[in-house]
Amino acid sequence: MADVILQVEHLKKYFSSGGGILHAVDDVSFTLERGKTLGVVGESGCGKSTLGRTILRLIEPTSGKVLFDGVDVASLRRGPLRKARKDMQIIFQDPFSSLDPRKTVFQIITESITTQRLMTDRRQIEQRVLELMDTVGLAERLINTYPHELDGGRRQRIGIARALAMDPKFIVCDEPVSALDVSIQAQILNLLRKLQRERGLTYMFITHDLAVVHHLADEIAVMYLGRIVEKAPAVELFEHPMHPYTQALLSAIPVPEIMPDRKRILLRGEISSPIDPPDECRFAKRCNRACDRCHAGEPQLTEVLPGHFVACPFHD
């Protein structure tokens, strides 16, 4: 029996937008095993960031369940929810705007500890902060610096320390390296991986960069316009992508190698509107394999191979 830490059931998040209802997250379901990493990939507008925030209830879900260690987070009252936050944390994309510019490194990390009332003794708190700084690779002497005095890589480490401070079980990583320089990205990715191994953390890794997620994820879910269109173990997804969108996505990734015969699948047009989407495959307009079946209703995610799910009529 797999050790499931997170079970998302039919999660929806709709926003009312001028002109209709915006389906940001539209009926998403998946399970996540303890200690594993689920990569959630997609381009802008696919709903992956909204999904991460909705799971943590930083955004109120419209409907659906989020079972974290058996407890439905989506329906918790305010008090128990705040306590539950200790176990589920988030690392933000932008290391510039996710840190309060008026607080020092020490104050930012301490906030996590004191808000959850984990310690009260000042000495102990300071010790813990220093430990965390060491874990994420921040020099001790930076303890009283302000975020704007540090570069992107170091700021992101502060964000990671803040998330780790309360010893969470699950962390949503929302594009944590997108805003960083290439050589720093690798450092942060290695750090995240090390932390996962040492502490048995479970990650939901949101990114648009397939190369990054390929490196870190055990399983990958590809999102398009609010729905998961394909989900498979990482290696399997890269070797046998089945959904046309996944195939186009993979072929579009720039690879740092000379590949003169590389065939690029170029998609037609642009992403369609997430407002009041019609009841058909949302990718059909851009797909070069679209047929009548694609317009006959929303394709459902079906398990085509063990562990490999696709939402495409061609693979039913």
């Binding site: 705040r82 306590k83 988030i90 933000f92 996710s98 309060d100 510019p101 906030e111």
Partner: protein, 302 residues
């Protein structure tokens, strides 16, 4: 906790103390100091404040400020009367000095009233949004639509002439600006990711407001306070000039201007010096405000 641990912890130096850095306030002061114009303006403002504070001690109100001496009326500036005398023989220099107390007091108190009410309303409007915000902003719009002079005249006419009512009138006309700036600041900060991050670690809304939102909104409000003090002094002077401000024989600068109005050609010093006093004070306050804005901003430039 045994004695041993107590000894051990005092032996180590706290890392926070070891790596003590300049606080943000000190940084801002350092940046402000680099602006020579702003530093000069600051000295001028401090000088005026000192004059205002000690005017009561240096001068005797009854003899120096309001004591009439018709024998010496309308004398040109001389060594005995630095700024000359007015039509009732009163020394204009002493009156201008003493007037600083009133002008400054009115300016500061009026702005404090505006700030207190305005910031409260603005923060509430910005943070809660929805119907609350709509109601507050429309009321503020109505008040703001009336020209401030008219508003001041209306309030003073209704409540009567006097320093207290003057402060109230100008305080009320200051509210709309503070509401708008506070609300704008809150709206910007409210959507920042670090506020979301605070929610993510489980902080209560109240704690978020006081710990994260308010401190980050202060910069524009501080600058506005300084600038508004300057314009409040001008407004107070204007109202006094119209006879709607302080009670006679109070030497508020605007009132001094009014008194000298009839003698502009024969005794121009009666209007010149009070006018200069207003101008210098307002200019200095504006430059301090600009200097503050520059000193508080560079963080964003980085």
């Amino acid at each position: 906790m045994s004695e041993n641990t107590a000894v051990a912890s005092t032996a180590e130096v706290s890392a926070i103390k070891k790596y003590k850095k300049r606080s943000q306030g000190a940084e801002i002061w350092r940046r402000y100091r680099q602006n020579k114009g702003a530093m000069l303006a600051l000295f001028v403002v401090i000088a005026i404040v000192l004059v205002a504070v000690f005017a009561d001690v240096i001068l005797d109100y009854d003899t120096d400020v309001i004591g009439q001496n018709l024998m010496e009326s309308r004398q040109a500036p001389s060594l005995r009367h630095l700024f000359g005398t007015d039509e009732l023989g009163r020394d204009i220099f002493f009156r201008v000095l003493y007037g600083s107390r009133i002008s400054l007091a009115v300016g500061i108190v009026a702005v404090m009233i505006g700030l207190a009410i305005g910031m409260l309303l603005g923060c509430v409007a910005g943070y809660y949004g929805g119907a609350v915000e709509n109601v507050i902003m429309r009321v503020v719009d109505i008040i703001g639509a009336v020209p401030s002079m008219m508003m001041g005249i209306a309030i003073v006419s209704a409540l009567g002439v006097g320093t207290g009512n003057l402060m109230l009138a100008i305080g009320i006309t200051s509210v709309p600006q503070f509401v708008r700036i506070s609300r704008a600041a809150v709206l910007t900060v409210r959507n920042q990711e670090y506020v979301e991050a605070a929610r993510a670690i489980g902080q209560s809304e109240a704690k978020i407001i006081f710990s994260h939102i308010v401190p980050n909104c202060l910069s524009p409000i501080i600058v506005q306070t300084t600038l508004r003090t300057a314009s409040a002094i001008v407004e107070a002077s204007s109202l006094s000039f119209l006879g709607l401000g302080v009670k006679v024989p109070s030497p508020e600068w605007g009132a001094l201007l009014a008194a000298g109005r009839g003698y502009v050609r024969t005794a121009p010093y009666m209007t010149l010096y009070p006018g200069l006093a207003i101008m210098v004070t307002v200019l200095a306050l504006n430059m301090v405000g600009d200097g503050l804005r520059d000193a508080l901003d560079p963080k964003l430039r980085q």
